[in-house]
Symmetry: D3
Subunit: 269 residues, 6 copies
């Protein structure tokens, strides 16, 4: 990993740990094509989770964070932020609300590109408010489209009005380094809940929750989804028309034959 | 218990456990009369829980599941579904999203009658989505009126639109047998959170949560409630008119005398 | 502490513990001036928590209770209620829903003054419904403006309609002494979640959660907030106009100079 | 409650809260007779818990604390210590390990009498070491016979050598006010885990855990135990001789007749 | 399932639920051959868990229960006991410690055969003491060799002296139906922690914990273990002689060649 | 960070993520002098935690791991291992127990120097056995003196015999990558429980638990401890001789004077 030239605000506190230069910055990474992201808009988190499981990738559901605005959905490239426990001789917010200014929290926001989803490892700590109004505003202004936090945010009365889709564990009045954590690294691999997220991976989130999609398998996921969604549309229709579950969900041999006929029939005859 | 002739989908995987035939199906059971269910519509879960406690039945609140649609209420007969831990040599969804088709999950839906409430033992596991859109649609189409899950559901973006009253712990993108559980038995006694629910028991749920009402004591509960609700209406009125809590809630001797006079007075003089 | 003359309802159960007279009532206490409370209306819980931390008071966020009515906010003087574990030989609700009538729960409601916030230590127990419709109605009628419970309430279908701002962990159909707790003392120091609340302290709650403000430091908090809010207004404006985070949040030397100029400029030139 | 003249160490910190005088001291209380305590030595915690439940007192098991020295047992009169959350303007150990010297922790130790069991409400916090070597030494020197903490202790390498029976949740290197709690009151009613303990109640603890025995019901408990233990001795003997569970545990009619004959037979014929 | 003729002790309480006959008894089942059990004595729980995972069976570790007697190990056939939540109208121990006499708890003990391991589903409830001294004594007298409880036991001061290998979550003074559970069924499939255990399955437990071994795959497990243990013995020897991890654990190509030579060399040259 | 040339075992699984090269290896770091470590042998974890708190460093107690061998103590330089969630397209142990061979788990063991303490971030997962017999043997053979795991180990029946001091949350039969985690990085900064540990920091652990000591402040800690331990020795003596807590613990002015006299008195007059 490379380390930027940001000066360390703890360097003059007499206890400075010479081995650490903060914030830690991950290696350069590649985002998915906008076209691929666009194709993923038709995929639900439920379909993504099921198909990834079928493809052999089992831990993709980021358990814990829930949508703050029911009905919203987001797909985008992950940029990441990792908190670590505070240590007053290394990195701490003990003295000041704004000691975070030179931290990974500010730094990651300068890397936002159009379509990014900020994904944060924060250990579910209810005493750490990872983000507040100002930072969310800035994030959105730079093109960010959604935020997933394995933890809490603050300033909800104002953040809620911004309307950005967010998946969080809850709210807290505390600022990011007020309690026991500190923003440590950005755009590094993180453990978000029990899911490994690499910068440049794809995050897809809706009312069911947030799901990790490895960038490399996304095209295959789109392909499988389109087929899957297709017969599900047919099944839903038949069930609403009184069809039995046994025949139509999932399709049995007879149901599949019927589906293929329906699928291959020109719409207008 | 009787075991239906459903063929076991795991029978050909080479590790098949000869002692188990799935899904397990409970004995026949009796539902409450529709008239009794209708009478229970005036009872709140708070009143039911308090009166059942007074009658000596203490564990009736199904702690954990919360309403997905605030303001909805349901009373109905319990049909039950019980998950068990997966075992690849017995029952597992490892290979396929739809291996559940021959499981208790599909089977229980074929037993739905008008007015039923599906009640599910799922150990609060956030990685198991007990039900999704298709199954909820089918459940409602067959006359089901509500669902109580000690666990999670999936497809919330679509399920929410169906509008069926549901009490759940949360949402997940995972399907029912994607993680560590499998739909094992239906219409058997279950432990839903810390409450014993027998098929044919009555489930009453509103914004306070879901409560179990033993079928046999329901008539007595209705009787006590009507009296209870009656003086509470009077008390609420008096308190809104400036009356003291000491006199009116609950009624002291003087308050009760006043209430009885009020109750026995013809409305129009 | 003084003990009121309320007769103990458990005195005749044959197991009465001679050493305890209930309910326990705390010493007299002083509330904050209404003018001070009014000034605090401009403070958010996020600002309060951050500034109190800077003033050296670290545990002020009452973690756990969440708003029941998003968008509401309350500031007021704390009156307190403390539950303790039940013991049938001392205090218990085993026999009757209304044995609480002579308890601290009823007693604290008789001490409500205009602008009070009722704050309750209830150990987060989901089987204890600390308050229901009647009591909330009475509380509001006497001038109470908000309720913070480290626990659960009941009668939510009706309580929600009252519209009183409340921060709670959740809802339950159980009444206050139905399970394992009993209303023990009122207007005594309590541990609400992990925060020490003294009667007469100030409670400020909004969508981020509830925060404790010591009465004596509230004036200083108002002073610091006004300054803080002021430059934040400026910063928000600049960031929305495309300014950088580095310069405007928090203000660097150049940003502060710009802010001071802006602040000191007469509005109309 | 009365408040001793102990001067408050926080009075000069500029933020001192005029309404609080620490430590809080409970009212005078009565201990059980030494003879009664002696009689209780034959009772196990299992028997005490079962018989108290039969007598209608249900919450007596202090869940959480486990014995530090397997095989030890203690019966004695409860003296109590209650922690509360820290607040730097009221009571805190932020600055110094020994700010506790003027707190309830030191105060309660001056009230120890021969045969006392110190019982501590500490919310199970693993970052608070309620007691260490010096205080345990002092406690034992004054006649204390056991300690039950709903929390953690420190100095275990040395405390273990003292050999005093202790039931605790675990060990920690932190001192009593190092993290988020402070020793607040002593010899007041406390909630130890989910059990109400009054000063002067009896605590009985062995390898099964610690149980609360109300002082007033202890004589009845002794009486019931002696009878209970008696037939259990007979049952154990018969089962070891090959008797059936159905006849001998608990005794059925035939078994009881046999037992009574055995019991009433002079030992030597 | 078949139901034995045991009369139901709740039948005369006026609230009896006509649909339930207790205790529930599972179908007949087959135990493993004693020879197979004997062969499994060389397998550690660590080896069993790893090899079962390789064979595709993932959930075999019964997480939670820990050994009460470090250094003991047991292998045997599972007999099972399942607790369910109490309901006073169906099954409860509210009135009497010994109402369990006609329950599944007593019933399962009459089915013990030489070499059995009693496995109990008890939801980890610390207020339920599933077994005490008398029952453990009886179990051992009938040939039982070990007990695994996803919950707590009581009478530990005496149980510990019996010396029977047991894996439990902890100890409690409460009896089996004193709190919220009741012994419901025996020799039925159970969920022990997160593992499905069928009667007749094999339980293997040592200091690492308890592991489920499906009866049908046990012979294959023995075969794989013997090979596995063999090269591990060689590896341990080489590492103690200063060999590198890279070569000897696990064996690389060169290490394997060396091992095979060592294995095939007659011991005495 | 630098990345060693270790070839990635996942490179040929068809889903390989091109952005990740495993294992991740941290930067070079410096260990403390052996003389400093030796001086720290007189410090207990309790003293270290208290003095570090006084020096302004608050989060040093690694909560969770407990000693496996009561009475042992260790001080040494931290080397670190960090687990991350598995992902089958990046790093997973799904297929084989020994896929860990090319992981950070094997790699970190090749960096052990005399006196090292291996410190592991493993999220407290009971299904991940971070280390077993072979690796512990190898670690000890290379000079390692202790292990602290925020998680579980396996092979306890054999590991216990090795006698190496270890602080762990518990035991499990599972191997390191059997469940949901994978050994990801070594000798990087880690979050062990809620404590930031840098490679080269000092770990001190005894029966109270494990404590982090920043390398740079260790000399000051030794100095403070020696003074602290000194007067504590005096205090202990006086309290055992009947002295009062008020005078001798901590020393009041008079006690301190007495202590200084005692300290400065030549031993032999």
């Amino acid at each position: 990993m490379t380390t930027p030239n940001t000066s360390n605000p703890f360097a003059d506190n007499g206890l400075y740990h010479a081995d650490v230069v903060l914030p830690v910055c991950g290696d350069a990474f590649q985002r998915a094509d906008a076209a691929l992201i666009e194709q993923l808009q038709v995929v639900s988190s439920a379909t993504a989770s099921a198909l990834l499981h079928r493809m052999g990738i089992r831990q993709t559901f980021i358990e814990g964070p829930r949508t703050r605005i029911p009905g919203t959905k987001v797909v985008g490239s992950a940029i990441t932020l990792q908190f670590m426990p505070q240590r007053e001789d290394v990195a701490s917010g003990l003295q000041q609300e704004h000691s975070e200014k030179y931290s990974a929290l500010w730094a990651v926001l300068e890397t936002v590109q159009q379509g990014d989803v900020l994904t944060i490892q924060a250990y579910g700590d209810p005493y750490t408010g990872c983000l507040g109004e100002m930072l969310v505003t800035y994030f959105q202004a730079r093109g960010g489209v959604g935020i997933v936090v394995d933890g809490f945010i603050r300033d909800v009365p104002k953040v809620q009005q911004i309307g950005l889709p967010m998946w969080v564990r809850g709210s807290t009045p505390n600022y990011a380094s007020q309690a026991s954590l500190f923003p440590w690294a950005y755009n590094v691999p993180i453990a978000c809940s029990r899911v490994l997220v690499l910068p440049g991976d794809i995050i897809l989130a809706d009312d069911d929750g947030a799901v990790l999609i490895p960038r490399q398998v996304a095209p295959q996921l789109v392909k499988l989804t389109l087929e899957h969604e297709d017969w599900e549309t047919f099944s839903r229709m038949r069930i609403q028309q009184g069809g039995t579950l046994g025949k139509y969900y999932p399709l049995d041999a007879e149901g599949r034959q019927e589906y293929e006929q329906w699928r291959d029939t020109p719409p207008n005859d």
